[in-house]
């Protein structure tokens, strides 16, 4: 079936390794001739097959076959395909439901996704159901097309499984694009446009705004909200004559600290830096306040000792003690600057009034100037940068017109990939011009060829999209077969010829794998069967790496062999 052919092509194009292996000359079986899109063959000799005849839109088989390439997906796909097929059938048999199915198949297969396969399945079924075209076995690149059975309808599902190569998807895509009518293309186009609109109109500005906000916050954090390097903490007025800090408070925020202590006027205030043991020794029997740490950025947490004040006994004045590492005394206000690591040193402050028992209003303050402040701006700048990158991506990469997206196809290009008459395959699977006496392919075909190849991926994606839409939106009627100009005008390969070819392929495959043959014979969308068929077909492939291409070759070779045998 023509569709199969195009499917194969499309799949091949999507898959780099796919080849434009066209199995039996695909014809449009019933319905439109789906302009097949040729995919780039991976094997040089397969280049020849890029000019294979148009894929019949009615050829649901190729689509199916290709779909089946996704072995695993085949099952689900087929089921889906069944649904779609029915929908498609309803639309227009003539317009080659197969073709559309094939196109869908191509897309699905190209994407190597379940959906593709699914589409192919039902399409295959649909085509089989819709048309009496015998085309059924999709000549897949993988050569699984051998499953093409005389019975189109029955072959359809078989064809799907026949395609065991992932490359089929490409072909399917091609088929889809070729076979689909305006509606599916339009729908896909619309969908794509909406997607682009959303990406460019909503997501990108949103991300851009977020990026700007992040940068603004970052800037604010670097300037206005920058943490204050000056830290000045005090205790407030204390009720004891002695104050001692805990180890670790000395160099809390920085290694340089200005300590100051004030007392009631006239009283002598002394500040000393010493070890914790010595301070403890001095303070035994004294009432003192202990500074534990920072309560807020302005206030210390303090704790008052419960020692009963036994008076200031001692023969040595505070300032004269040998124990202090550093000491300074003054009246009213004493200040001391400490530089260096705190270690376990503590600060001991003593306020001594004329009357030893009188309470002095001792107030203690420590000031640091932090050399390093936490940098809160960096995370904001980093996030802002990320958002900018994301916005750019959303505006460009994520909303591509589909040129380079595998899964996206622009429907408008689908038409372009129609196979020309010359490109249709002859009976023996070779392009028409290969045979003696045939006219060489026209140069313009090359251009179209390349464009076709170019767009195959997108087409496949578009096809897939359409299929997705179709599936998710319910039984949407897609008139995928509404356009099949070529088929209408010039059916290059007769349906009968194609059927014969597929029959040969089927027989051949049957020889290779009995299951495959029987499976292909079944007309019901039997996933298992399809898979089996595909598996069998795949097994028959000579080159696992390049399934489609090799299969195509194999199929072609086998076809020729069969022909010879037949002769």
């Amino acid at each position: 079936m023509a569709i199969n052919m195009s499917d194969t092509n499309l799949q091949n194009q999507d898959d780099e390794s796919s080849k434009d292996v066209k199995g039996p000359a695909e014809k449009t079986t019933g319905g439109l001739a789906v302009p097949e899109r040729f995919e780039e063959p991976s094997i040089p000799e397969l280049d020849l097959f890029k000019f294979m005849p148009h894929r019949d839109q009615s050829d649901a088989v190729p689509a199916d076959t290709q779909t089946d390439t996704q072995t695993d997906d085949g099952h689900a796909d087929e089921a889906h395909m069944t649904e779609e097929t029915s929908a498609v059938d309803d639309v227009d048999d003539d317009t080659d439901p197969n073709g559309s199915a094939a196109v869908k198949d191509d897309v699905a297969a190209a994407d190597a996704e379940t959906e593709t396969t699914v589409i192919a399945g039902p399409l295959a079924d649909a085509s089989s159901n819709a048309t009496a075209d015998a085309d059924p076995t999709a000549v897949t690149d993988s050569g699984n097309a051998g499953d093409a059975t005389a019975d189109d309808t029955s072959d359809v599902p078989a064809d799907v499984p026949v395609e065991s190569e992932t490359d089929d998807a490409a072909v399917a895509d091609t088929d889809d694009s070729e076979n689909e009518g305006v509606d599916p293309d339009e729908a896909a186009k619309r969908k794509h446009r909406r997607h682009v609109r959303i990406m460019r109109g909503v997501v990108t500005p949103l991300l851009g705004l977020l990026a700007v906000a992040a940068f603004v916050f970052g800037g604010l954090n670097a300037t206005i909200w920058k943490p204050n390097p000056h830290v000045s903490v005090s205790t407030g007025t204390l009720s004891t004559n002695y104050l001692v800090t805990d180890p670790g408070v000395l160099a809390l925020a920085d290694n340089t600290v200005d300590i100051s202590a004030t007392a009631a006027s006239g009283d002598q205030v002394c500040i000393a830096v010493t070890s914790a043991r010595d301070a403890t020794g001095w303070l035994s029997g004294q009432k003192y306040t202990r500074v534990n740490g920072l309560d807020t950025w302005q206030k210390f947490t303090t704790q008052t000792s419960s020692t009963k004040d036994s008076g200031d006994t001692g023969s040595v004045a505070f300032a004269d003690s040998d124990m202090w590492e550093k000491v300074t005394c003054a009246n009213d206000k004493a200040t001391l600057r400490w530089k260096g690591d705190g270690g376990d040193r503590v600060i001991l402050v003593s306020a001594q009034g004329a009357d030893q028992n009188a309470k002095t209003k001792l107030d203690f303050t420590m000031s640091w100037t932090r050399a390093t402040v936490p940098n809160f701006a960096m995370p904001f700048f980093f996030v802002g940068g990320l958002l900018v990158v994301m916005a750019i991506l959303a505006a460009t990469l994520f909303s591509l017109e589909g040129h380079r997206r595998r899964k996206k196809k622009t429907l408008e290009n689908a038409h372009v990939t129609a196979l020309t008459e010359e490109e249709k395959l002859d009976q023996d699977g070779k392009p028409h011009w290969m045979h003696a006496g045939a006219k060489p392919p026209s140069p313009e075909r090359n251009r179209r060829e390349s464009r076709r190849r170019h767009h195959s991926h997108r087409r496949a994606a578009v096809e897939e999209e359409l299929r997705e839409e179709a599936e998710s939106e319910g039984p949407e009627v897609l008139d995928v077969t509404s356009v099949n100009l070529l088929q209408q005008s010039t059916p290059a390969v007769s349906t009968d010829e194609l059927q014969e070819y597929f029959a040969r392929l089927a027989a051949e495959n049957a020889a290779n794998a009995e299951n495959a043959a029987s499976a292909s014979a079944e007309s019901t969308p039997d996933d298992a069967t399809a898979v089996q068929t595909d598996s069998a077909n795949a097994a028959s492939d000579t080159d696992p790496a390049d399934g489609d291409t090799v299969n195509g070759d194999t199929a072609t070779t086998e076809d020729n062999t069969d022909k010879k045998e037949a002769e």
């Binding site: 997607h195 990406m199 020794g281 994301m390 959303a394």
Partner: protein
């Protein structure tokens, strides 16, 4: 594509959600991390601090030396050294010259700083030899309580050729010992008592075998013999009694085991002249101390002896060794 769009929108939403979290980042006040350094096993002071303290003490001593006023000593001198020093100053007043034995060099060769957190604390500092090639001095600086300052408690002139044990470096600090430390050939208190007995009884003491010979004993022996000759000529008698002063003992543990013990042993030397003669002061020092007293037939001179003993570990197989001593008459009285 619905799914990818949804995914992208979800990612953007997540990013937005994260921003407020960042903005809400308040800078938290720093926490006091208690340095759990082993403050209990670190030396109580640095070498710089020890030098500062020692220089303060020496300043006071120098001042007193210059003024020959023993009253100024109380600020920075205590214990046996106070007695010794006061005596030396009194003698210097009388004689006009300070005993050269009283010289304390400014430079030190080693200082041993304790790690104990409690009081009293003592620092053992060993000076260099004096300018006139006298032996090194062992200074014992003592802080009785947290509220008092370090004072020079004891001064011992090390014997020539005496071997001191090794101590931990000042950065690590050493542990102070107790008078009843165990694991040694004898407790420090016992060692001092036995030494006093040996000083008194000489080789006749039952403990004589526990101690090595040392300079103090030989000097004393020589002195006693010399005085004995004179006394016999006068048909007089002499006796010396040595008494350990209780609680006047400082112990520092050496790095390799064993204790260095510095203790005060007072002695009284009673000389009685026979045949109705007067017993006179035997030396200039005693003369100075005696002052203008009236001599009688008997004279009692009280000495303050400060001895430094190294008591080895019990399993070392060594004997107790006296490494230094100071002997100073502090009182001369006619009986």
């Amino acid at each position: 594509m619905r799914k990818p769009t949804i995914v992208r929108i979800a990612a953007a939403a997540l990013t937005v959600a994260m921003l407020p979290a960042l903005a809400a980042c308040n800078e938290t006040v720093p926490k006091v991390t208690a340095t759990t350094s082993s403050s209990t096993t670190s030396p109580v002071m640095t070498e710089a601090q020890e030098k500062k303290i020692r220089s303060k003490i020496l300043d006071v001593l120098k001042q007193a030396d210059d003024s020959k006023d023993a009253n100024a000593l109380a600020e920075r001198v205590e214990g046996p050294e106070l007695d010794v020093r006061s005596s030396q100053l009194t003698i210097a007043q009388a004689t006009g010259n300070l005993d050269p034995h009283a010289t304390i060099p400014d430079k030190i060769s080693q200082t041993v700083i304790p790690t104990d957190s409690s009081w009293p604390r003592s620092i053992f500092t060993i000076t260099t030899t004096t300018d006139d090639q006298q032996s090194q001095r062992l200074l014992v600086l003592n802080q009785d309580s947290a509220r008092s300052n370090y004072k020079l408690w004891g001064l011992v002139r090390l014997f020539q050729g005496a071997q001191l044990p090794a101590f931990e470096i000042p950065k690590l600090g050493s542990k102070m010992g107790d008078a009843d430390d165990s694991g040694l050939v004898s407790t420090p208190a016992d060692a001092v008592a036995h030494y006093a007995d040996v000083l008194q009884n000489g080789s006749g003491s039952q403990y004589a075998g526990d101690f090595n010979d040392d300079q103090l004993r030989s000097d004393l022996a020589t002195l006693t013999a010399t005085v004995q000759k004179g006394i016999e000529a006068n048909a007089g008698t002499q006796t010396q009694t040595f008494a350990v002063q209780p609680d006047q003992i400082k112990v520092m543990r050496a790095a390799g085991g064993g204790d260095l013990v510095v203790a005060q042993i007072n002695s009284e030397w009673t000389r009685t002249a026979g045949e109705g003669r007067e017993s006179l002061p035997a030396s200039d020092a005693e003369k100075a101390l005696f002052g203008g007293g009236t001599a009688t037939s008997s004279m009692k001179v009280t000495y303050v002896n400060v001895v430094a003993l190294f008591v080895p570990k019990s399993d070392s197989g060594e004997k107790i060794q006296a490494v230094g001593a100071e002997r100073q008459p502090v009182k001369v009285e006619a009986q």
